[in-house]
């Protein structure tokens, strides 16, 4: 069977920049990032080297269709995922009809739900729900034995009986399959910061090879536990950005004065991907065509990128070949671009080696912060939007580039025919998706 063509027909996104793809994209083009001091409550437990993060905007979960009971049962990562998928499905122009009001489930107007897959990435799934239940479990017995219970940390009012389904990482995929009644492959990828990119790549392959006709794919993450424990984990690994004199300018990927990545509270991006001919028949508008994917593994260190970048070079080369392209065809590189000293040094050298200074080079994390397992999905969505609108956001706060690459310095019109979006992860996972403009 010859490889089938795959198009992106719907996008949904929630990030620190907004609660819809439109809000996020507008903020990116206007260079509005979201940087704030970490919650004061976290300082009760420890002092951290980094003191800033990118919080999510206030989200009206009731308006997104989540009752109070839903909110008690679901981890925030699950609600982010469902909300982003609902936007993506609306955006794709696919009707959804109610199946069971009690379970809040729907059926999509797609020809064959058993040929519709879900491919989602997440770094840590429902870890904040685990945190809450663990604290409740450990601290509740102390309430009756300590003289002053007010010294105990705040905790959820009950041990959540839905703690296990809230915690399990596959919930982000399972919830979409349940919510939208999709019965094809339902997979969760846990390649840390590359998880979303891996998920989109595997959705592309599943449609291209004929395993499925339709896929919801992307990434989701929620990291805002009430105690700052997840933040501390990244902080103690010395990966996070220093606030500096001006916290608004602290997050600066590929800049000489970068100091680490900006920890994001969370986010989710879901892309609707379809077999191109089926999408054309139903009159769908397409943002971009996905044309290639590849992944490699460093085999080097659980926490640090392999210094020579050899496996990243191999991976990008394979993705470009998979797209039927040569490096000179690539016009736009949506980088992993975290703002850590090591990542940006190696990634910029790799881009220079493979592509030289021809393509535009961008770092979406300069605006969103690092949404970990959601970031690959968000950046795939941003790459598709950039191709559709022939417009790029700027590499925010970049003043002194560390290498002579064609960084996007100002948001605006940008001729892009072929783009690559790439991610690298703790563990050593490297992945990239190649997309083309729709003619």
């Amino acid at each position: 069977m010859s490889r089938r063509r795959v198009v992106v027909t719907g996008i949904g996104m929630i990030s620190p920049l907004g609660t819809s793809a439109g809000e996020c994209w507008s903020a990116m083009l206007e260079g509005r990032s979201q940087v704030a001091a970490i919650p004061p409550a976290w300082k009760r437990y420890t002092e951290t080297a980094s003191t800033i993060w990118a919080p999510l905007p206030a989200i009206d979960w009731l308006a997104h269709g989540f009752s109070r009971v839903d909110q008690m049962q679901l981890d925030t990562s699950g609600m982010l995922t469902i909300a982003a998928s609902a936007e993506a499905i609306r955006d794709a122009g696919i009707e959804a009809s109610s199946v069971d009001p009690k379970k809040n489930t729907f059926r999509l107007a797609v020809p064959a739900p058993d040929r519709c897959g879900v491919f989602m990435g997440t770094g840590v799934g429902g870890v904040t729900s685990f945190f809450g239940n663990a604290v409740n479990h450990v601290v509740s017995p102390l309430k009756t034995v300590v003289a002053d219970p007010s010294v105990l940390p705040p905790m959820p009012p009950r041990f959540n009986p839905f703690g296990v389904p809230a915690m399990m990482p596959n919930a982000v995929s399972a919830l979409l399959g349940i919510h939208w009644s999709l019965y094809g492959p339902n997979l969760t990828y846990a390649q840390a910061c590359a998880a979303g990119t891996v998920a989109v790549g595997h959705a592309f392959r599943a449609i291209a090879t004929g395993d499925v006709d339709f896929a919801l794919c992307g990434g989701a993450e929620y990291l805002g536990d009430p105690y700052g424990g997840i933040f501390r984990g990244f902080d103690i690994a010395r990966t996070l950005v220093a606030a500096g004199d001006d916290p608004q300018q602290a997050n600066r990927p590929f800049d000489r004065d970068r100091s680490g990545f900006l920890f994001a509270e969370g986010g989710a991006a879901v892309l609707v991907c379809e077999e191109a001919e089926a999408a054309r028949r139903r009159g769908a508008r397409a943002y971009a065509e996905i044309v290639g994917y590849a992944e490699t593994f460093d085999g080097h260190s659980i926490m640090s990128i392999e210094p020579s970048g050899t496996r990243i070079v191999d991976m990008i080369g394979a993705a470009v070949r998979d797209a039927g392209c040569v490096p000179g065809d690539i016009d736009y590189v949506n980088t992993h671009g975290t703002g850590t000293t090591v990542n940006d040094e190696i990634e910029s050298a790799v881009i220079d080696q493979i592509f030289g200074s021809k393509p535009f080079v961008n770092a979406t994390k300069s605006l969103t912060g690092h949404c970990i397992g959601a970031s690959g999905g968000i950046e795939a969505a941003v790459t598709a939007l950039s191709l559709a609108h022939q417009t790029a956001h700027a590499c925010h706060n970049l003043e002194h580039p560390i290498r002579d690459l064609r960084f996007v310095r100002e948001a605006g019109p940008c001729r892009i025919d072929t783009a690559i979006t790439q991610s690298f992860a703790f563990g050593g996972h490297n992945a990239a998706v190649v997309m083309k403009r729709i003619d």
Binding site: S67, R68, V69, M72, Q73, P101, K102, P157, R158, N160, P161, F162
Partner: protein
């Protein structure tokens, strides 16, 4: 004595969790057999009642509640004892 406000709050919580018509939620209705609550719904209902009335309902108490009237009576007693809000 049962407070009409408590009856209404319990009924609303049952309607919300079980997605049943409010007219069906009479005192003598059995939550499982008559209102279609399965085991997951029962867990959810207890959690929603805890949320509504601000306190903890232990498993043994929860298992003893068969009808809507049982729930209203139990909650009323707990509120009277001030062990629920």
């Amino acid at each position: 004595m049962q407070d009409a406000g408590i009856r209404e709050r319990v009924a609303n919580t049952i309607v919300h969790v079980l997605k049943v018509d409010a007219d069906l939620v009479d005192s003598d209705k059995r939550i499982r057999e008559d209102l279609g609550s399965d085991s997951l719904d029962s867990v959810t209902l207890v959690m929603a009642l805890e949320d509504e009335f601000g306190g903890s309902i232990n498993d043994n108490d929860a298992k003893s509640l068969t009808t809507v009237g049982d729930v209203v009576g139990y909650i009323s007693r707990r509120v009277e004892e001030k062990s629920l809000v």
